[in-house]
């Protein structure tokens, strides 16, 4: 086939935007979203779809399915027994407490930081945003370690903590601090770009009409960002409940006391209590699924509000 065919096709195509599709298709164009577009041969398309689905099945779908399969391997009774066991309940309770505190802390920080960053112009703004994002690029183990170096028995503040009899490492405060660190950017990074995009006109109007700063925030700014805020909180919560590496370093692994759900899963697994381990894991997998469904719904809302 000569290369001359193609300009000819293009001329036909260009002049015949409204012609019957049969004409376009006869020239190896297929319809995609109502617009004629060149694409790969059918066999290649099917092969690529199969490769993609196979890859995703092998690496993502199967692991997810296997969590529930392994959890229910010995039936419903064994599943329930693993979850209502006192150490498991203690781990669930601790995870809920840690998540509640860290999500609240990051929610407040996210609102405060995004107000300062998005509503005002000042030098060094992009550096500040980079610093807020920093915890995302730190290894979870390093995130735990830095708190041990501050508050551990060999830490920089060890003498003060001993004098005041305050326990941070191997106790709740350490677990909370490490969790806040690894989830630090979640809420802020959802809010900052959105609030920057929305600008300051509405706030300025409210203030010039006599509203106070606080009521401007609650009546103008907050309603404008509520879905993005919820989105950030959701992701922050999922990570807070599931954090393993950082918490593992600062927790001390005391059963029934300083074990969060992920740490409890590890202990059970290392003791070859696979069904119990997967049963507790299935709760976190369920949380992940709920998070993803809620996230998908929220993304729809956000996209609609954008319009």
């Amino acid at each position: 086939m000569s290369t001359l065919d193609h300009p000819a096709q293009s001329a036909v195509h260009g002049a015949s935007e409204g012609l019957p599709s049969a004409l376009a298709q006869s020239h190896t164009y297929t319809h995609h979203g109502g617009r004629p577009v060149r694409t790969e041969p059918r066999a290649v398309r099917i092969a690529l779809i199969l490769v993609a689905l196979g890859f995703l099945g092998l690496f993502i779908a199967l692991p997810l399915v296997s969590v529930f399969y392994e959890a229910f391997r010995r039936g419903w009774a064994a599943y329930v027994a693993a979850i209502i066991e006192p150490d498991a309940l203690a781990a669930i309770r601790l995870t809920l407490i840690v998540a509640a505190i860290s999500v609240t802390a990051n929610l407040l920080f996210g609102l405060v930081a995004s107000w300062a960053i998005a509503k005002f112009e000042f030098p060094g703004k992009s550096l500040l945003i980079t610093l807020i994002d920093l915890p995302f690029s730190v290894s979870p183990v390093v995130a735990g370690l830095i708190y041990v170096l501050l508050f551990g028995s060999q830490g920089l503040f060890a003498a003060y903590l001993q004098a005041w009899d305050i326990k941070i490492i191997f106790a709740l405060p350490g677990i909370v601090l490490a969790t806040i660190f690894v989830t630090f950017p979640f809420v802020a990074r959802e809010l900052i770009p959105l609030m920057q995009e929305q600008g300051t006109a509405e706030e300025e109007a409210a203030i010039s009409l006599g509203a106070s700063g606080l009521s401007t925030f609650f009546r103008v700014t907050l309603p404008n960002v509520k879905w993005a805020l919820l989105y950030g909180v959701l992701l922050c919560n999922a990570r807070a409940m599931g954090e393993f590496g950082a918490v593992s370093v600062v927790s001390g692994h005391v059963r029934g006391l300083t074990n969060t759900m992920p740490l409890h899963i590890e202990i059970l697994y290392n003791e070859y209590q696979f069904v119990a381990s997967f049963a507790v894991a299935s709760l976190l997998a369920l949380l992940a699924l709920v998070t993803l469904i809620a996230k998908t719904i929220l993304e729809h809302r956000l996209a609609e509000e954008d319009r």
Binding site: T3, H6, S10, H13, H32, R38, R45, I49, V51, A52, L53, F55, L56, F59, I60, L62, P63, L64, S66, V67, F109, E121, F122, P123, L128, L131, I132, D133, P135, S137, S139, P140, V141, L145, L149, L150, Q154, G155, I180, F184, T200, E204, T216, F217, L235, A238, G242, F244, G245, V249, M261, P262, I265, E266, L284, A288, L289, L292, I293, K295
Partner: protein
């Protein structure tokens, strides 16, 4: 008291209140939670002599662990770029049943706790697991080998590549491809000379993000790795082991290497993202 000129110059005047308060709180909290603890690592490291630091970092076991973490992260990121690109292409350009569900599944590694992913992958790829039992007759062992580490790192890195490249390919104007085709380019030529240059910065950014995440990964890896020193022991695990042995100097020195590496990666990723944005705005 009137505002000093430097204060006026610091930020543009605004009628909106609360800058001082919110900025003060932001910097204080950032300092307490992120910057102070991170600087503790550098303070502790500076207490070591230079020779001691070098001795720890160049010890055979440390070097092996770093090699495993960085080397396998590189392999996993490469796998993710290749298959991530195919996944993105299929999701953006083709139609098939349950496409929305498949698209949502991509985020599972973001949402699923790493420990859960770790035990699930181990069970799946163990010799008696669903996938492992198929590979065993071929003489391929995944769980408790370096290959297992790659599997875990591919799992956690995939969404970084897909979610970085997907919006760029979706925004790509297909008229460019039509133009190339009408000028006589074959489909492979069009893909390599028109599509690839446009998504290249995004692919590279996704690669760097997946690599950065994989280098520091701990939870999903330790279950499947086998954790044999010198073979399948990752650097974050070695930090944990040194801590449990109360060898704080060792843990600190290795962590410093990891942290400096992640800072460098962050710098590179920021550059790449700016490049990708520039490329994107030029194409638009």
């Amino acid at each position: 008291m009137s505002a000093s000129p430097s204060r006026i110059a610091f930020r543009q005047k605004s009628v909106i209140p609360g800058f001082g308060l919110t900025m003060g709180l932001t910097l204080t909290w950032l300092g307490l939670i992120v910057l102070l603890p991170l600087s503790a690592l550098f303070i502790k490291t500076s207490e070591l002599t230079f020779d001691r630091f070098i001795a720890i970092v160049t010890a055979t076991r440390t070097l092996h662990a770093l090699q495993v973490s960085f080397g396998l992260a590189l392999v996993a990121a490469l796998v993710n770029v290749v298959f991530g690109a195919i996944v993105v292409w299929v999701l953006v350009r083709y139609e098939f049943p349950f496409k929305k569900v498949v698209d949502a599944l991509i985020d599972i590694p973001f949402a699923l706790p790493t420990a859960v992913a770790g035990i699930a992958l181990t069970a799946l790829y163990a010799e008696n697991g669903w996938v492992g039992s198929l590979l065993a007759p071929l003489g391929i062992q995944v769980s408790f080998t370096p290959l297992g580490i790659v599997v875990a790192l591919v799992f956690i890195g995939l969404p970084f590549v897909v979610r970085t490249v997907q919006p760029v390919l979706a925004d790509l104007d297909q008229e460019l491809e039509e133009a190339a085709a009408s000028l006589g380019a074959s489909r492979p030529q069009t893909l390599v000379k028109v599509v690839l240059p446009s998504v290249w910065p995004a692919l590279l950014t996704g690669f760097a993000l997946a690599f950065a995440r994989a280098v520091g990964e701990y939870g999903s890896v330790i279950f499947i790795a086998g954790n044999l020193p010198g073979v399948s022991e990752i650097a974050p695990l070695l930090i944990v082991i040194r801590l449990e042995e109360f060898r704080y100097a060792d843990a600190t020195a290795i962590a410093t290497v990891m942290l400096v590496a992640s800072f460098l990666l962050l710098l590179i990723i920021n550059r790449l993202q700016r490049w990708a944005e520039l490329r994107g705005s030029r194409n638009a």
